[in-house]
Amino acid sequence: MGVGVKVGVDLVVGVGVGAGIGWGLDFWLGTKPFLLALFIILGFVAGLLNVVRTANQSFKSSRTDDTDQ
């Protein structure tokens, strides 16, 4: 359950933050709705990046644990 929650949260949060930034910029620059759409896509990519980074990290730490023992 731990890993699943971790990956799910990472992915959803990326999209959420991207949408938030896009909405904010749209509001500020008056370009509704183009930046929102763009930043949701970028947010999805950022979410994937987060997932890859956490996966790499846990992979790395589990490998060093193996060599220690």
Binding site: G2, K6, V9, V13, G14
Partner: protein, 244 residues
């Protein structure tokens, strides 16, 4: 039967108000105070005698110290030493909060997003300030991956910025979601035991066995989530201090 979400209600114990702001002392604050108190007693009494050959209590405190010291050394390096007291307090506070929250009738303050997000936001702002102080404007090179072609900057920089801003949210949501889900699960299965006639009759015994197993799982999750919170703080600190 009571709703499984009822255990998360915040109830004011002492009504306090400054102007329009409600700063009542609630059951959440009470359990934070209890956690801090238990933590202080645990560490202060444990380090009272400072024997060369530690007793049981002193060994326990030294074990926690060792775990956090190793975590800071492995993830941040020697530059992380000044931040050890903060990471140690953070880890112990979350760990004790999670574990004390598992006691029946206790309130789990880590199951509230307001609490976990306050901690995560504090870490996020603090780490950003530490990065800006150590590296000045060079800190912003964190938003551009090392060695990527400069043409890709307009795409990569927004992605890195979103990834950076999602840190405090995923950090806080992870702890909050794990604790909330765990406690709802315990309550639902506990309700099942009562509905089937208690744990001393055959149909109620089955969910009771399951409840015991889930309780053990929850103890494990309480420890793991505190550890994950602290280790991610170390990772973010490492990024700010070393930039890549």
């Amino acid at each position: 039967m009571a709703s499984p979400l009822e255990q998360f209600t915040i109830e004011p114990i002492l009504d306090l108000k400054i102007g329009e702001t409600d700063i009542s002392f609630t059951n959440s604050s009470l359990w934070m105070a209890i956690t801090a108190l238990v933590l202080i007693v645990f560490v202060v009494v444990g380090t009272q005698r400072r024997a060369l050959v530690p007793g049981r209590w002193q060994s326990a405190v030294e074990y926690f110290y060792q775990v956090v010291a190793d975590m800071v050394r492995d993830n941040v390096g020697s530059q992380g030493r000044p931040y050890f007291p903060f990471i140690f307090s953070l880890f112990m506070f979350i760990l004790f909060g999670n574990l004390l929250g598992l006691i029946p009738t206790a309130f789990t303050f880590t199951s509230h997003l307001a609490v976990t997000f306050a901690m995560a936001a504090f870490i996020f702002v603090g780490v950003t300030i530490i990065g800006l102080i150590t590296h000045g404007l060079k800190f912003f090179s964190l938003f551009f991956p090392h060695g990527a072609p400069i043409v890709s900057a307009p795409v990569l920089i927004p992605i890195e910025i979103i990834s950076y801003f999602s840190r405090p949210i995923s950090l806080s949501v992870r702890l909050f979601a794990n604790m909330t889900v765990g406690h709802v699960l315990l309550k639902v299965i506990g309700g099942g035991v009562v509905a089937l006639g208690g744990f001393f009759v055959v149909p109620g015994l089955l969910p009771f066995v399951f409840l015991v197993a889930i309780t053990m799982l929850e103890v494990m999750i309480a420890v793991i989530q505190a550890y994950v919170f602290a280790i991610l703080t170390c990772v973010y600190l490492n990024d700010a201090l070393h930039l890549h």
